[in-house]
Structure formats: C-alpha cells, structure tokens
C-alpha cells in the first residue's frame, strides 16, 4: 500500500472514531474520497487500522462525507474558473464525480442525444436503450 493510502486510511479511522456508529459502506466511501484511486479493500487492512463497525449513524456520516466531496469538487471548479494553480484539478474532480456514479440509481431510459442540461438535475441517471 502506498504511503498516501496509508495516511488516508489512518485519517479515516481517526475521523470516524468519535462517531458512535459508522458502517463499512461509509468507510469505503471515505477511503474513496481521501485516497481516490487506491484499491486496497478493507479486508487487506491490518486489524489495528480497521475502522470500527457499528450499526447506527450511517446517514449522518454519509451526509458529512458527501459534503466533503462536494467541497473538493466545488473548490476545483471555482479554482479552475479563476485560472490559478492545481494542475490536474480536472482529473481530481473527475475522480470525485466517479464516486457519485455509484450513489445513483438508473432512471427511465433516455437516448443520450435527448439529454438536455435544462432538464437534468445533479446526479440524475439515465439508461441508454
């Protein structure tokens, strides 16, 4: 595991600890956010690093994680508009957006050509027939 992933996992454990009830799903999301392209699964983590597993509070931490993710995306977009640094901010923000794909459910089938920005909401999903 790379150093960044290690740092991210340690950070994830620490962040979750105060919350009495974080589920594995949320922790996976956290690793996804802070390590992005790291592929290490929870099963591969040393036991002492494994985040606590509980059965309450999932919506709350999910909301917090989602908020953090949006902050990173919004920051990347705004920075880009102002033309300053962050040389691969597009690639980074795209990786965040990928996380959103997993969070959405398919909707009614629509041809891609029919996609119209004016009628589309954030994260709305469609299926090409």
């Amino acid at each position: 595991m790379e150093a960044e992933a290690l740092k991210a996992v340690v950070g994830a454990s620490r962040a979750i600890r105060p919350l009495a009830g974080a589920a594995i799903a949320a922790t996976v999301a956290l690793i996804g956010i802070f390590a992005l392209q790291q592929t290490t699964s929870l099963d591969e983590l040393p036991a002492e690093m494994a985040p606590p597993v509980a059965n309450q509070g999932v919506p709350e931490i999910d909301a917090q994680l989602e908020r953090q993710r949006q902050f990173f995306v919004n920051h990347a977009e705004t920075s880009s508009q102002h033309g300053a640094n962050g040389m691969n901010s597009r690639v980074v923000s795209l990786r965040f957006s990928e996380e959103l794909v997993d969070a959405t459910e398919p909707d009614e089938p629509v041809e891609p050509a029919d996609l119209d920005a004016s009628e589309l909401d954030n994260e709305k999903s469609t299926t090409q027939p």
Partner: protein, 321 residues
C-alpha cells in the same frame, strides 16, 4: 568533389549560424514570457502522447489525444490501468466512460485542456510571495525542454517546476513541490506535437450501448454575496477573490464559499450551518489539503492546493465580524 566540399561547408555554416541565432533568442526570453507562451501553447497545440501522472507515490498512465478544430476542443484521454476510464471531449461536452461500471458520466467543462485545466501565468505577483527563474535545460519525452522554477517565499504555499518544449513552449512536465520534493507530477513519456490528428483517434473504444448515463450540471449554482466572515490572520498575500452562496447538490443546504488566492495558490473556505457531527480536522487528497472546524453554530472547512498548515490556519481563524 570541390563543389561538394563547398556545399557541405556552406551547409555547416548555415547550421552553425542558425544555432548561434537560436541560443541568444532563448536566453533573452524572460521566465514570465515563457509562462505566457505556455498558456498560448496549451490552447493552440495539437498533441498525442502518453502521460504519467504521479501523486503520493502512485503512478497512473494516460493516453492523451488533443486537438482544436474550428475553435472546438476535441480530446480523448484513456487511463491505461485500473478502471480504464475514458474521457471523450467534444467542445464543452465531456463523456467520461467508466467501462467497469458500464456507466457514462456526462459533464460540461469550460477549460482549455483536461490535462492542464489550470496553469500558472505571468499574472502572478512575482517578487512578493513567489519568484520565477529559468533553472536549466533537459530532455523530456525525447525533446529539448527549458526548466522553470516558481519558488515560494514561505512555507504556506507550494512551489512549481515546469519543463517547456523549447520549440513550442508546450508543458512537457510539471511538478508541484513541497519542501523541495515533488508531491504531484504530470510528465509526458512520449509525445508528438502539431501533427495531424485522425478522427478515429478521438473516438471512444467502447460501445456505450446499454451503459447507464449520468449527467451532472456544469457547475455548482452560486450567487455572489457579501459576507461578514473573514480572517485577520490569513497567510501573507492571500486575499478574497470571490464570495458566493452555493446550494449543495441533492439538498436545500446553502453554504457560503469564499475563494482566497495569493495569485497562484487558491484556498476555498466553506461556511455552513452546523448539521450533525462534523468530521473535523485535516484531510488530504494528493497535494490538496482540507481542515474542518466548528465555530459556534457553523462549520468551517478550508480546502486548497497548499500545505496542511495553511488550510488549518485559515479555517481556525475565520470569524464573523
């Protein structure tokens, strides 16, 4: 035979004259002129090659094809490992194909290049928080490159190194530097510049029939506002360049977003009403850091491509007037 020797000698003389002419020209170009040339090159150069992107000790190879036709950006970026991400861009419309998830994410981008969405420019206030210098010549991706260094004057910001193709000023390699060490890097392993790009090179390699299509709005909705929130302990050179109220995706929650900049590094501060248990403290994504803290009934999060100490100082010193 004599004629041949004379011809060779005159040819050699011509080459030497050309080289002698080029050298002073390169030497006379000032560092910030190189930055201006780079900005123009990123917008106008067609290129095709393999990029290695390194961050936090992890490397990712991307095949990149980019051209501009009739003012429209056409681009294809394909991850060579991992999830096989493929980005197809036609103008501002971008299709991000995720083959392993059988999904296509549709986005709208306004910047000039996926690879170099933002780059340092000569607008930076050099001499205050940073200085810029030409630090050498090297070969990158088989081409001669001139190396620029943008060096910060304190520990609150990162430095940059940029290798520009001497012929076209196109950036062949970029590094984000912290304490003398590269923490993020984009480097072409091989590249062809300004060659004709065939249409087939820009087509997706997957049939997206039966894929699930997701669409995101081009950006978060924001309204310019004035805010009473500020910090009187901002690191030197940082000043507010925009303040917006933004509605968070998927909810009615409105947050205040202040963007601070020192001319090169940007830090966003998000101020939200307190809602539940905050994941406080630091977080990191490559060279980007964030720090969250509670302040009364509000949650403050600072995020930026700056060292951890910078976002912590900004987040912990924000307060309403």
């Amino acid at each position: 035979m004599r004629a041949t020797r004379q011809h060779a000698a005159s040819g050699l003389l011509a080459v030497l004259s050309t080289l002698a002419g080029i050298a002073p020209v390169l030497a006379e170009v000032q560092p910030d002129d190189w930055l201006n040339r780079m900005a123009a090159a990123v917008q106008s150069t067609s290129y095709e090659g393999t990029v290695i992107r390194i961050r936090g000790g992890t490397a990712e190879a991307l095949k990149v094809v980019h051209t501009v036709k009739d003012g429209v950006i056409l681009e294809r970026v394909v991850a060579q490992e991992g999830d096989g991400l493929e980005i197809i861009r036609n103008g501002n419309e971008v299709h991000c194909i995720l083959p392993d998830r059988k999904s296509v994410l549709v986005e709208e981008w306004n910047d000039q290049s996926t690879l170099y969405s933002t780059l340092p420019s000569s607008d930076i206030r050099f001499g205050n928080e940073y200085d810029v210098a030409i630090v050498g010549k090297e070969r990158v991706a088989g081409r001669e490159a001139i190396a620029l260094a943008i060096r910060p004057h304190d520990a609150y910001r990162y430095g940059h190194r940029i290798w520009l193709d001497t012929e076209t000023s196109f950036p062949l390699q970029t590094q984000l530097i912290h304490n003398g060490t590269p923490i993020e890097q984009v480097k072409f392993a091989e590249i062809t510049l300004n060659q004709q790009i065939h249409a087939s090179a820009l087509e997706p390699s997957y049939s997206t029939e039966h894929f699930t299509w997701h669409r995101q709005l081009s950006g978060h909705v924001g309204t310019k506002v004035k805010t009473s929130w500020t910090s009187d302990e901002l690191p030197a050179g940082f000043r507010a360049v925009s303040t917006h109220e933004e509605t968070m995706s998927g909810s009615d929650e409105v947050v205040t977003h202040i963007l601070y900049s020192d001319g090169l590094a940007n830090v966003s501060v998000f101020i939200a009403a307190k809602s539940g248990e905050l994941i406080s403290g630091p977080a990191q994504v490559g060279g980007s850091n964030s720090f969250s803290v509670e302040r009364g009934d509000h949650e403050i999060t600072a995020i930026g491509e700056v060292p951890a100490m910078t976002v912590e100082q900004i987040a912990t010193t924000m307060q309403p007037l």
